[in-house]
């Protein structure tokens, strides 16, 4: 689905996740964050960049590897993205939602 977020034309899948990370920028991230009820501040960006780098290396994302990243611990990750940190942070970072096989 094509739509416009923060003045930028982007493609989203049916669950509202960007399908092309190249369409991501910080304004798009802030708009997606607002939809998730998150106001982005200084502490969010290193976490989002970490998730993007892991995604580019094809490393499956887990709460555990975020917690061991040295950037934020698991409780801190929850504090930044309350409710469903991996799900929300992935959407804001412009990468696919962590999913199981079904």
């Amino acid at each position: 689905m094509e739509t416009t977020i923060a003045g930028k034309q982007v493609k989203l899948n049916e669950q509202g996740y960007l399908t092309d990370l190249n369409e991501w920028n910080r304004d798009v991230a802030a708009a997606l964050a607002a939809e998730e009820g998150v106001e982005l501040g200084e502490e969010h960006w290193p976490v989002l960049e970490y998730l993007q780098s892991q995604h580019k290396q094809e490393v499956p994302l887990t709460i555990r590897n975020v917690g061991k990243s040295g950037i934020v611990d698991i409780k801190g990750f929850y504090a930044l993205f309350p409710g469903g940190p991996l799900k929300k942070a992935s959407r804001i970072a412009g990468i696919p939602k962590p999913a199981s096989c079904i």
Partner: protein, 414 residues
Amino acid sequence: MKHLVILGAGTAGTMMSNHLAKSLPKEWDITIIDQRKIHHYQPGYLFIPFGTYTESDIVKPVKKFLPSRAKYIQKPILNVDKDKDLVHLEGGQAIPYDLLIIATGTDIAPEETPGMAGPHWHKSIFDFYTLNGAVKLHRALEEWNGGHLVVHITEMPIKCPVAPLEFTFLAESYFHEKGMSEKVKITFVTPMDGAFTKPVASDQLGHLLKDKGIDVVPNFNVMEIDGDAKKLIDYEGKEVSYDLLVTVPTNKGAEYIERSGFGDELNFVPTHKGTLQSKVKDNIFCIGDATNIPASKAGSVAHFEGEILMENIKRFIEGRELKDEFDGHANCFVETGHGKALLIDFNYTHQPVSGTFPFPGIGPLTLLRESRMNHMGKLAFKWVYWNMLITGRHIPFVPSKMSEAGKNFEEIQS
């Protein structure tokens, strides 16, 4: 002579030893190392808690399935010295290799979650990912008078990601047959955002849980278990109480991988997802649950990987470029209880959709839809496993690369 060494004599290692025995050039010898004497049919664990299978139904000697060309060393592995191309065994023996295949799979690690592996383990907190756990859970279910049964996934990735859901459905069916439905409440607790996470499956199967009266607690990342109070507690302080907890603990690769210094934080081996060559060193390949590739950890995946790995071992030996072709193909039966099952077929890029399998438009199996035929297929798979899958025989009509024929991909073009 040149030496090919396989670590692990489970599904993937046994299958590879049989493939290699047939086609590896004569100047190579084959050694397979594992500490176990008994091979378990792991898909059978799921049925043990409900008394459908007993222990004797799912175990056979490891050696029965190894080719005569392979030498079996039954010893625990200490570590791999990748710089010297040596496998060190407990007791001091060192086995040299020219080419190594890692196939040591994954195991549960309940000690990773505070409160899980304590005094309540196998008393009120159970697993069904080990034979011992499944047998003890069977006894507990037989004696249980009812209450709140919580089925729980600790964290991803796990072996056979659909198994917890299958367990949930089979439990509902089991208590229904025992006439205990009124006395049992079942809740499914998952770190994912739902019991079904892919859009088509979620859309078409979401009703199954509701129809069966099963509650779902999503986005729950367990921090600790209070076994005395019988509560799961997550990182946000959310709590779920249980009377009987059936959990899938954190899954980790083998400990010698950590001692060898090349696994990820869960001891899975960094592996190229298309070629199955490890990222550790060129002469180390990896197959099955031991890899970190973004495919499901399942026997069918190991089976489909086998074909590409054989091709790439041949190419590696001949000094040719590797084939970057594994597509993440998985094909799994999903028990839904009451004598029915689903079948799912998917890969890295295609989520499970409905349709027919393996013959387009004919079946006889139905994808992503419950049927009795699928359940018969799941039970028949035990024979296929012992007689075809681990012996490295081709399974008719099921190619290693996923086929798109007979599937309803228009469902996802939204």
